[in-house]
Chain length 157, copies 3
């Protein structure tokens, strides 16, 4: 049986501590056998990564923002783990939503989203195959370039 | 045990009657132990509140639109109650999504969303702590400034 | 008892084969008694329908894009069926989200969304009455005009 904690270690992916949100909400929440995360930004050590994590995305910045999407997804997985206790309590990544702050004319939101999808595949393998929506939005909080949210299923308590 | 109906009265918050949507959808829907609401606009008595409930948001209009987000959240809670029968059937506010119609350069969608989050805290206390995504969109139906949707968990039937 | 497969035939609606996504995700996923779809585009035979399925929406293009939303919804229902085995395994359409790629000043996203809602009513009747959010976004993958995602409830296995 696969251990997602073990594959995390094998992949060399370091999940950060989950910072408490500034507001009246929380990074992730378990309800029944589902865990929902808040929208996560490409933040490392409390700051948006520069320059890929900030500003609207155009074709020239696309490759860098794939990495920003990966970082936001790492933060989302860290929030999942904090809510579940261990990644091995997760049975399935269900849904990924990727909001990409987009310049007019940028239409590769799906390629940006691949940065998040491939991170989930690295950690969760077949159980990381999810449904997904990727959309291009006008702006994101703190001028982030990308925001990632997850729904996961977990083993019954 | 907390009564959310009682805290509603204590807070002086008046939930409106839920208007039937014009289209082929409904304001909220219970499925199993979850209730989903439709996206709710800052409408009072059938009209978008003026001026905060209309148009795209910029820095100058931010504070007013926090109030519009609160009004949209009140409408979402009214829809929840209509689907649940009573707020005391709600066990948890799970997820809040806030779409903010945003001028280029407006990046405080999270502060607008606090208008909805704080309303949920007033009514539901600790059971109102939710996960949340806030994004800035290009436009909203009827030129609304903000749209709010909720997912809640409820007590088993 | 209603058969949704029968009403599909009566309506003359032909569901396409579900194409495998290019990426690390899948068109739909059943988890417990819910099915989630990925965001679906107005694609027929592997291409965005021209001209309604492409580009940002303005008032002049609204009626055509209602049809594009219907096509995207047909693709979403096809994905639901592939995940459920049969439409008769679906007990309820729960939630519809419609993202409309919007020119500044276009604020009839709800009317575009009706193209998807009415398709669901044709197939699922009263069990197709859903909650819904419609928002106007800056851009969509491949320059699609509209993206549609669904959550459905299904009969227990």
């Amino acid at each position: 049986m696969a251990s997602f904690e073990a594959s995390l270690i094998r992949s060399g992916i370091i999940l950060p501590e989950v910072a408490a949100p500034a507001g009246l909400y929380q990074p992730a929440l378990r309800v029944g056998d589902f865990i929902y995360t808040s929208g996560q930004l490409p933040i490392v050590s409390g700051r948006l990564v520069e320059p890929a994590g900030k500003g609207r995305v155009c074709d020239e910045r696309q490759d860098a923002v794939v990495t920003a999407a990966r970082i936001a997804a790492i933060n989302a997985v860290a929030a999942l783990r904090a809510a579940a206790g261990s990644l091995d309590e997760i049975s399935r990544i269900v849904k990924l939503t990727v909001f990409v702050s987009s310049e007019p004319g940028f239409t590769n939101q799906h390629l940006v989203a691949n940065g998040a999808s491939s991170l989930l595949a690295e950690i969760f393998g077949d159980m990381g195959r999810h449904v997904r929506s990727a959309v291009g939005v006008a702006a994101l909080p703190l001028d982030a370039s990308v925001e990632v949210e997850l729904v996961a299923a977990c083993l019954p308590l």
